[in-house]
Structure formats: structure tokens, C-alpha cells
Symmetry: C2
Subunit: 162 residues, 2 copies
């Protein structure tokens, strides 16, 4: 039985392809945030820790609300660190069925611009030191961005549009 309560949900397990292709950055209330092992693009993947979600409409409404906020936080983190020309956000899943959302910082100089990153050539792995350094910068930035939002939330609901 699916949907009769959290106790009925199977335990969450990250899809092996996502586990292989990424490094974990941080855990937000809903999603694990992963960094793609592809230095061509600053590329995060958000995976809601919910089984067996496959489509956005499979999530409960409260989880959908959390998902879009966590997508926004990931976009803010990438914007602060990389000043992208554009963010690309996508939930495809044609190959990996577990619901996951890509948030990618795009630059007009990157090798896939203006096309999508998905299906665009082969990943270029980070040297191990570079991957760890970027992971630490991302983790620190998520802490700042999430804390900022918490403070703004406490100060009231006015003036939240940016």
C-alpha cells in the first residue's frame, strides 16, 4: 500500500547511477543535493528522499512545496558562486526513473550553450582535489543561503520578492 502514511513507505535508496555519477553535497529537509562529476558545468541534482516518486505529481503537496523552495535555494547557491548567464532546471528521468531535478549553472561560453546539457557529449571528471574543494564551497554556501531564508522568514512575510 502506497500513500497510507510514512510508515508504509519503502525506505529511500539512491539510484545506483546517481550514486556513481555524483558526490553528495548536503541534505536539505526534502532532498539530497548531489554534485555531478562533470567539470564542464556547475551541476547539482536534487533527489527527494521519497519512494517511489517518479513524477512531480506523485509527491504530496507539502513535498512539492518543499521541492520548489529547495530548487530555488540551489539556484541561489549556484548564482552566488558562479554568476551564470542562466540557470537550467530539469526533471527528465528518461534513463534514471527515480525522481531527480537537475539545477545547472549555464554560461554562454560553456560547450553545450545554448543547447541543453542532457545528452551533450561525455562528462569530464574533476580532479579529486578540485571536486572536494568545490563540494566544500557549495556546502558552505548552502548553509549561508538556508540561514538567510530562515532569518527572513522570522522577520515576516513582507518584501520577499527579489
Amino acid at each position: 500500500m502506497v500513500g497510507s502514511g510514512p510508515e508504509a513507505m519503502p525506505p529511500f535508496a539512491l539510484h545506483p547511477t546517481l550514486a556513481r555519477d555524483t558526490r553528495e553535497v548536503v541534505r536539505l529537509p526534502l532532498c539530497r543535493v548531489l554534485l555531478m562529476r562533470d567539470r564542464r558545468f556547475p551541476w547539482l541534482i536534487l533527489v527527494p528522499e521519497r519512494e517511489p516518486a517518479r513524477e512531480i505529481h506523485d509527491l504530496a503537496p507539502a513535498d512539492r512545496a518543499a521541492l520548489i523552495e529547495e530548487i530555488a535555494r540551489a539556484g541561489e547557491v549556484l548564482t552566488r558562486l558562479f554568476r551564470p548567464d542562466k540557470l537550467n532546471v530539469g526533471a527528465l528521468g528518461n534513463i534514471v526513473p527515480q525522481l531527480h531535478v537537475h539545477v545547472v549553472a549555464r554560461s554562454a561560453n560553456d560547450p553545450a550553450w545554448p543547447g541543453p546539457v542532457w545528452g551533450s557529449g561525455a562528462a569530464v571528471p574533476y580532479p579529486e582535489g578540485e571536486l572536494e574543494e568545490l563540494r566544500e564551497r557549495l556546502t558552505a554556501e548552502f548553509q549561508q543561503v538556508v540561514e538567510n531564508k530562515g532569518r527572513k522568514g522570522q522577520q515576516g512575510r513582507k518584501g520577499q520578492k527579489r
Copy 2:
């Protein structure tokens, strides 16, 4: 000044490329829902009627919550009409900067599978009668799906997970 209230926002105008490539289906509380003139894929585009939103984190939190719900409704409509193998959802904007979200019904038999639809060959226009007929089916299905949600909302908050 941006963000000091709705009265300060410039009026919404659909980007001319989106206007040219689509046919309007329905207006939801936040978004205009457009049908892409490309019969290779059942392909909707949701455009929040907010200027000058470019990224998801530019939207106010209440608009983000509305956006993810309207994405879910569009996904449900496409699922009911087309029984897709997978939905693809994407906000790219590398070419058209106005914030817009693609919701596409994908089939393992479609010409781009398993790659993305974006940047995949040239659009195949619908014959005019077919476009209008599909538009009417989509409009009717949106009415049903939105009404269903309204009824569920009134009945209470339990059992919303599907």
C-alpha cells in the same frame, strides 16, 4: 523599482518567440498554459504572468508554490490524455529569457527518446484542424483536473498523496 508591490510591476507581455511557436490552451491562476506547435511531442509550456521573472528564485514564495502545483496539474493532464512513459519538465531559457516551464509527455517511441526534446531537430507543425482539436481536449482535461483538486481541497487535507 522592482519588488515594491504589484502596482510597481510592468504589465505582463508574452515573449514574441513563445507567442509565435505556441497556441494558448488555458489560463491558470499563475501561468498561461501554451501548446507547442510541434506534433512530434505533446508539449505544454507554462509561463508565469510575472514581469520580469527570469529564474525560479526571482518569483515570490507564494508564486513558486503556485508554479509547482500548476506544473503538477499540467503533468496530470498529459498523463490522462497520453499515458506517457515519462514526463519531462524543464525551465531552460537559454534562448528565450522570459521564465517558462516546459512539460512534455515522452514516449519510448518518440523521435528524441531517451534524449531531451530541446535542441532535437525541427518542429513538425500540426495541421490546423488537429491543433484545434487537441487544444479543446487539453482545455477540457484541465477543467476536470483543476475541479478535482478543488473538490479534494474542500474535503480536507488527508489522503492527498497519489
